[in-house]
Subunit: 380 residues, 2 copies
């Protein structure tokens, strides 16, 4: 990064000549949010498209969106914009691509776009490092009860806090010589972010890594995973002693630090519930940087209250962002972040740039850098 | 760690037969604080010493200490106990060893103990991993403004927080592909904890490491450091591209993340002042896990207010623990912890065990595991 923190986005080199001549006019791209001075010029400084932008610092107004989307060939949307039949109908037959600046696409009616042969761009992968960073941060914070201990200072109680040999202590993330020589980290979901989190934690002295992955994997995928695991283990040896897929019960019982990094949806809802939390070690910590719905928030509040686990850190929470201060998990020992996993200048810039590139490529009918497969069968 | 988080301390095997017979009675050991059920038995369950213990959960009362220290052969003290001539006079001529459960010894009149040939035990090194963990934690928290963003949730403002592509963003600790491919971490002081912090940060994509070390180093020490640096660089290549000693000016200008990990005292007081902070990168963060006196707290508050740097995280603060809620640094963008760097069950247990072992070895006249050199010339 340069000294002022600025990062240059690479200007897209996609040519739209053919589509312009086909339409007999410049293709219209609607952008539902100002993407900032580093990214907007990728659209506004080219003469071959018409750009329509929601300029206010708030979620794009629905009525404005419906009024302005008419005749658009491409739309760049945020997670706050619902892409449903109403919007698609309002856009009309020219619409070729919807590009969202997000890794999630719960706001998009994917089957409907598939039916209409409208392509979808999204922004996976680019947030891997940012989320892995925050996973490590929350693991450390949960073990040290960071929100609680910082609260002592915030509330002016430091002068009146009695020092004692074991006061304000938590379980150490790093191993400790022969006194405490093993650490098992567990992952519920073992995709790119989990693997990037593992990479960061190995030098803390992690000795064992266990995970639960999608049980519906095919045998060829299982073989790929086996080879991947073998490669990872070799990469981190001799520090890492073992890396293996386990069942949910073993994951709960054996993890010192447990990361929830699995997609949302009905199949993973409340996988971490009271029963799961009761099996965990008393000095373990639970970190959720995946999807809020996977962890039963009431059960987590109970687990912290009853001392089933030592601490927790979450960047996502079921019902977010409608979490009021009287929510049962607020003002417990849980460290709660307002879903800022991908919120670094670098990552958001890359996400915005990728969203624009996906849109431009879709409008031009070319290969989109990261296109969502809209057909469940895996075709296209 | 076992599932209930318990760790067993190794029972000390030091024999005190000779000293007992010399005194004609059991040697008395005074302990100024209850060291807990894992460590106290190392003293209380042996029959060859008399143990006198301050049992209350508060700093040892001074009058009680002066009354009970009389005739002691060894004393185990905490940082809260002043070991001065008054205490030594009250103890009398049998006193052979003062063992503190701390790495710092500002509370001990070292020259006076040297004059009286009273040995000093302290507990260095064992807290290296715990403090390195918290250094990494604070670096991540400073970049993500963790206290501030958690405050949004604590204060019930999450439902009313407007999402925007670059809202709540901070500089990413990890490198980001070709878009942001270098990271320089700087260390003011480059001892064991700094090196352990570096080890943890390499997988985040750190490319360059710079440090300022004690300028009064001898040429033989410089040569040792050169070899150490070469070994470290080789260990972390190809990820780490450079590792070098620099001057204070370059440290301020080049660091993306700057760790203060130097001892306290007059020679390092306010090394980080307004002038230093003004030279830093706008998107850099400052972390102090060394000694509070090294950083001018008023200057740091100003730097955060003026945007000279992006964020900060400190575990130590000048004037601690007397930091009230109206302190200029509280309620800024600074993440402040109440000096909990070594506060893990594992580390505090090791510190307490080591303090007891040092005391017993000193009473027996044997080799203390970690004895402080009381003669500045390096003799003894």
């Amino acid at each position: 990064m340069s000294s002022d923190g600025s990062i240059s986005a690479a200007a897209s080199s996609i040519r739209l000549t053919s589509i312009s001549s086909h339409l007999g006019k410049k293709p219209k791209i609607l952008v539902s949010r100002d993407l900032g001075p580093n990214v907007m010029p990728l659209l506004t400084q080219r003469g071959d498209i018409e750009v329509v932008l929601w300029t206010q610092n708030s979620a794009c107004d629905r009525k404005w969106l419906l009024d302005n989307v008419k005749g658009a060939t491409g739309i760049v949307v945020m997670i706050t914009d619902l892409v449903d039949t109403e919007l698609l109908d309002a856009a009309g037959p020219d619409l070729k691509v919807v590009s969202t600046m997000s890794v999630g696409y719960e706001h998009i009616n994917v089957p409907e776009l598939g039916k209409r042969h409208i392509r979808i761009g999204y922004t996976p992968d680019v947030l891997t490092d940012a989320v892995a960073d925050i996973a490590v941060m929350l693991a450390l914070m949960a073990g040290r009860n960071a929100n609680g201990t910082m609260g002592i200072v915030r509330d002016g109680l430091w002068p009146r806090t009695i020092w004692a040999p074991f006061a304000l202590c938590g379980p150490q993330l790093s191993t400790f010589g022969s006194l405490s020589s093993t650490r098992t980290i567990g992952f519920l979901g073992f995709g790119r972010i989990s693997q990037a989190t593992l990479a960061r934690l190995v030098p803390f002295g992690i000795t064992d890594c266990i995970y639960v992955s999608n049980p519906s994997s095919s045998s060829s995928k299982k073989e790929r995973n086996r080879i991947r695991d073998q490669n990872l283990l070799e990469q981190y040896q001799p520090q890492l002693k073992s890396l293996r897929a386990v069942d949910k019960d073993a994951l709960a019982r054996e993890s010192d630090v447990l990361f929830v990094l699995t997609p949302g949806g009905p199949s993973t809802k409340h996988l971490v519930n009271e029963q799961f939390l009761q099996k965990m070690k008393k000095h373990s910590v639970l970190i959720n940087v995946g999807r809020g719905s996977v962890v039963d928030a009431m059960a987590l509040a109970k687990a912290l209250d009853k001392g089933w686990i030592f601490g927790a850190g979450v960047d996502v929470l079921e019902g977010e962002p409608n979490i009021e201060r009287d929510h049962p998990l607020v003002h417990t020992k849980c460290n709660i972040l307002p879903h800022i996993g991908s919120a670094t200048f670098e990552t958001r810039l890359a996400m915005a740039t990728l969203a624009v590139d996906n849109c431009l490529a879709g409008v031009a009918g070319g290969t989109m850098p990261t296109e969502l497969d809209t057909e469940p069968s895996g075709g296209q």
